[in-house]
Symmetry: C2
Subunit: 409 residues, 2 copies
């Protein structure tokens, strides 16, 4: 069981070895990938779910309304909806762009028109499009440290120089940004993985910095649909008066990651270029699933689903935080967090050196947890744990934590 | 009606103008795309289907087995198939990789194992992955002239220097390849748009050239599933003994372009890098549609569909060629072609200067045809027409051609 993450998780790509062809020299071949790919090492992650599964980045797929989706997919799979024979608009299905614009307006206060929205294959492609439009090889990109790994791998693969910027209890430390950063990738609503919310004055300072440096702020709002208290702060996108924010949303956490659906809200000056980038990249996102999602939102099913999921996740969040605070007081200090699908906890000094052993013992006991260090860019990493509750039902949380507690010295 | 193509066609991306936000300065914003995007100009193409629609690159969507697909999508939309909550393998759904490997083995004689196959969002993403893995900015890429435009735009957006290489009746002129080309993009089965087949000795010369120059050959086999006579020549991939060929296949012509499904058969030395490129690009292709396609192939539905479609397209191809040869003898010389979804015809000298007027008059008469010149990289372009029969039923071909004939002087 490997567990390099910051990436959600996926089942290992390594299939059984291929039949060798009779002509053995083809096995190698004359072509060589560019050297950068040797250093782009995606997480192999857990090969299968653990008995007590506290991995992050995964929603509870049992909440997904399969029956409704089957009905919608059947309705959309007809010639009028997806079968004109022609290719579709790179920016996305018009109904879905309109539905997303309304949705982010209502839920996040973002004043988007349908024309500002571009439908993508999840967050990862949204970031790829923005990077292709804005970054030249050698450009500097700033990311949160600790932070989400897949964007770092993407930016490096495009030849960018990626630099980590520390995060404190109020979010990204704006003074630590390198002056020549062309793009800053941030998770203000629910920092990944720490779980903190970027404070308002930090948001304003970041926007001011970006305006002065003419840098792009890419705001990844990956799981802010789930909130368990307090009024959410305004997104950077809403506070932006200079057109420097690109907002990224995802349906991977609210629906299913395997659908691969996300979106961008793009400043007008970048709109044409992003459409063109989408066109040369893969023309457009698969149309039937776009059409189904548009109906799912328009019919009110998405709002109903979010309410139901929110109630479930709130129960898990509150239980997890309660047990952590009660039973792990000597070892862990929970990082306050009122949103999303995971919490993190810093490890107190006494236990810090033994964290690898703790996590290994927990794994032996059927408990999958991740370390903060796995999300770090530059050592020394803060010792800590990250506990997701998307993949574990409430009924298993207490026993899972009991086993985790027994793994501590 | 605009008509810049070489691209299939898609409905114009230009939506009605957005509501202006109250804060007008956001309309522009401080960010600027990289200059290269200013020159990446996707085709706007026909805004809607013509009465007599000879556009290329479009299959007949009325042939698509919607009922079977609805049944398969319903079956695949369950938790076991797509809803584990985790992300999936970047290389593709294992059942689909296996099904594609068998399919290309049977239909094209390509000895692929499932591990050689990578599932992509259509041909365009397949090319993007290969380009990202192999090309550095400034690298030279050779493409056929005339040729398919979207890959040219893609390569240029990645900073490659794209150079056109002439095509004659036997395919790409190998002696005209620039010695420093790192990648050569070709359509040997059915040259797009001329429709010719690359001769065997030309294939062998191209492979020898690539081996000597350690260049990649990207073989786009976009519509070779449709054949109307003769035994197909072996693909470059099958003839390759040096591991220099990347084979690209698509389901856009055999099924529907809006599904966005294609695949790569990758030399082993590039495999890991291509998986990593797919991972950073968009993680993986939408899983439900992959699962449905795997069953569609495994159940024999794909083979049945191809047989049915092949019979229909053969009727249209033969009729089109017969009428062109009979009624346009003074104006057009049909380029022999026994595969795919379009034929081209060179215009005889007497009419060549009037081709723009002919095509405009045809459009006024409800007939959409494309000019060879629209696919050219460098002038002077050969005067000629390209006539697709994917989007026009057999019953409309004769009247469409009668109107086209009346548009000639």
């Amino acid at each position: 069981v490997t567990a390099r993450v910051g990436a959600g998780t996926f089942v290992s790509a390594h299939a059984p070895p291929a039949r060798d062809r009779p002509d053995g020299h083809r096995a190698s071949g004359l072509l060589r990938p560019r050297p950068v790919w040797g250093s782009i090492d995606p997480p192999t992650a857990f090969a299968r779910a653990a008995e007590f599964d506290f991995r992050t980045g995964l929603p509870d797929s049992s909440l997904f309304p399969f029956e409704t989706w089957r009905r919608l997919m059947v309705r959309q799979l007809d010639r009028a909806a997806v079968g004109t024979g022609a290719y579709a608009d790179p920016a996305g299905h018009p109904d879905l762009r309109a539905a997303v614009a309304r949705q982010v307006g209502l839920s996040r206060g973002i004043p988007a028109s349908p024309d500002d929205v571009v439908i993508t294959n999840g967050t990862q492609q949204a970031l790829d499009l923005v990077a292709r439009v804005l970054l030249a090889p050698g450009d500097r990109v700033a990311v949160e440290d600790p932070g989400y790994e897949p964007p770092r791998l993407l930016f490096r693969s495009l030849g960018a120089r990626v630099v980590g910027v520390p995060v404190d209890g109020r979010g990204l430390v704006v003074e630590a940004l390198p002056a020549d950063a062309r793009l800053v990738y941030v998770t203000p609503s629910h920092q990944y993985p720490l779980g903190t919310t970027m404070a308002l004055e930090r948001r304003l300072a970041l926007l001011d910095w970006a305006r002065r440096h003419r840098a792009a702020l890419v705001e990844d709002d990956y799981d802010s649909e789930f909130r368990f208290g307090g009024r959410p702060l305004e997104p950077l996108q809403t506070l932006d008066t200079a057109g420097v924010v690109v907002y990224v949303g995802s349906f991977s956490k609210t629906l299913l990651p395997t659908l691969r659906l996300g979106f961008l809200v793009v400043p007008r000056a970048l709109r044409d270029a992003v459409h063109r980038a989408k066109y040369v990249t893969d023309w457009h996102t698969s149309l039937p699933v776009q059409a189904a999602l548009a109906r799912f939102i328009d019919d009110g099913d998405f709002a109903r689903h979010l309410r139901r999921a929110n109630a479930r996740y709130r129960t898990r969040h509150d239980l997890l935080v309660r047990v952590l605070s009660r039973d792990f007081a000597g070892h862990l200090e929970v990082v306050p967090s009122a949103a999303g699908l995971h919490v993190s906890a810093l490890v107190r000094r006494a236990t810090a050196g033994q964290l690898d052993a703790v996590v290994a013992r927990a794994a032996d006991a059927g408990v999958a947890v991740q370390q903060l260090a796995w999300f770090a860019l530059a050592p020394p990493a803060r010792p800590g744990l990250v506990l997701g509750y998307g993949a574990i039902p409430a009924g298993r949380i207490e026993e899972g934590l009991r086993r985790l507690r027994a793994s501590f010295p």
